[in-house]
Symmetry: C2
């Protein structure tokens, strides 16, 4: 597979939005290894996932452009001449989308539409890979959830991401701007936000346990699946490199299914100690609770040969090792 990636990416021009964030920066590092000429776009808004430390060690081999995807003028310029666009910038916090729905709309809807318009007008040959989310499904009718499941988002973020995703598929189908979308489930690993729960609750757990504090498990019985970030990056590269992905939507999934309580136990065990408390949902979370969720990822396995390769215990071990070394850079 690496051989194909070399052909697909060596010397090619790649634009990544949200590139200083969690998944974006891991993708940057991989693309640099593959010889790509990577242009990073990130707004570095403190509440979001961008962190310059995420590219420590490769900063001299990439180009960083601080700008916001809502800035249609800069995006119009930046998409030009690029072979690939990994479109990862987004507002990801469910609670923030409810307290400031307009900002969420601007980032997750309007900016997406204007980026696609820029591609249509100034670079129709570009290939676009969009980071979508399981949040679109809402509370599952059945498990595992496949791509035929109805979309019934339970927060403003899910609705806006749904529109953002659908614009990409539309521009593929109507204008031939090759685009596809990956519906990510819980992604975890080095470089995720650990300062708060805006990106993932697991980041907060990792930080607290490394600080020697107890962490909170809400409810605990819910089932979830987890993708290690290297596996998510692999999916983005496969989707970029293959025309079989054009116009398609694929779920990502995890190595097995686990309850939050079991996950907490595994974190404590992998860390060699630590403690957690179980509590019930706060009222404002309860209203948007989706119960159990895990994905059926047979579709991307069939089309692109992707599957999660990193066992959860190994991924957690590598994540804990990363933050044990670098935690202060993420506080």
């Amino acid at each position: 597979m690496n051989h194909n990636f070399k052909t697909a990416f060596d010397g090619r021009r790649v634009l990544i939005t949200g590139a200083l964030g969690f998944i974006g920066s891991n993708l940057v590092r991989r693309l640099v290894e593959l010889g790509a000429r990577v242009l990073l776009v990130d707004s570095l808004i403190p509440e979001y996932g961008g962190n310059l430390f995420n590219i420590a060690g490769v900063e001299d081999r990439v180009q960083v452009n601080i700008s916001d995807v809502r800035d249609a003028h800069s995006m119009r310029y930046l998409v030009q001449g690029q072979d690939y666009l990994f479109n990862l910038a987004g507002q990801t916090s469910h609670m923030d989308s409810m307290s400031d729905p307009d900002a969420d709309l601007e980032i997750n809807c309007r900016a997406q539409l204007s980026i696609l318009e820029a591609c249509r007008k100034y670079n129709p040959g570009i290939k676009v890979i969009f980071a979508s989310t399981r949040q679109l499904y809402g509370k599952p009718d059945y498990l595992p959830v496949d791509e035929k499941h109805l979309l019934r988002p339970v927060d403003v973020n899910g609705i806006n991401k749904m529109a953002g995703e659908q614009y990409h598929i539309l521009y593929n189908n109507v204008y031939g701007i090759r685009s596809c979308a990956l519906r990510l489930t819980n992604t975890y690993g080095p470089r995720m936000r650990v300062k708060d729960a805006r990106q993932t609750f697991l980041g907060v757990w990792i930080r607290l346990i490394l600080e020697g504090k107890s962490f909170e498990v809400w409810e605990g019985h819910q089932l979830r699946d987890f993708t290690f970030v290297d596996d998510a990056v692999e999916a983005f590269l496969l989707a970029a490199a293959s025309d079989a992905a054009n116009g398609e939507i694929f779920n990502l999934g995890g190595d097995g299914v686990i309850s939050l309580t079991e996950l907490a136990e595994l974190v404590v065990e992998t860390n060699g100690g630590g403690e957690y408390l179980t509590r019930s949902y706060p009222a404002e979370r309860k209203r948007i609770d989706i119960g159990d969720y895990y994905a059926d990822f047979a579709r991307i396995r069939g089309a692109l040969g992707w599957e999660p390769r990193t066992p959860l215990c190994e991924g957690l071990s590598r994540t804990l090792a990363f933050y044990r070394e670098h935690l202060p850079k993420y506080l």
Copy 2:
């Protein structure tokens, strides 16, 4: 049923957005009969459906406020003190949504979100009925299409309307702002836009046949269903009057299914003469063609007792009679 409507609407305060448009103005006229105190909001943008002639005869019994739903400040004021909001303002043209996606997003997404925020903050007791569309379904996987069908819009308009609809359901579920959505199919009748095809192709047919010109049928074999506007108005009133509608999405449907060629024949026959040409799709329409569509409306029949009552031949006859008398007001 009328007795219940009297209880629900007599003396009540009702806000209607898009109230000078096709369905809005028919709803206004009915609500005036029922004794409601109706406040009409419309932007009268020439490309959209608003027409002051639509309220001829009732203009002294209503209050007209010319403003745009994108104007969050005026909407914040106007929602206050209202018992019902019939939220019908929208950009409806598929082609316009492709040539100016941003305007479509502003009207069909952002304005909807800001109206709901205004309700949440300033009038959480209001009941909201949103005009959604079959356009959300895209090309059907099966027929008739029920509400469990996947949403795969084929134009920017469909994606933005999808988000607009889902915000309403979300605000019902999360904040208790009682809201529901009706997914309209082809609605026709007096007061529809006939100047061009921005609202409905049938309007153009009616105008051309009354002008003694031939009209164009694209393809002709596609199956469609048609709701007469009085029946659509009945559905809006039922949804407003019943708490069984809260948080629900309902398809509307028609009295039977008909091909476009059969419809053209029926229009000619009902008019007592006229002619049409059959041609293939223009390229830019072909890309967003959805093939056959007709709705399963069992859900609203079960929940609210609604069904279409006006046979197509009668509806066409009343429509032709209306425009025979008033055509100049619609040119």
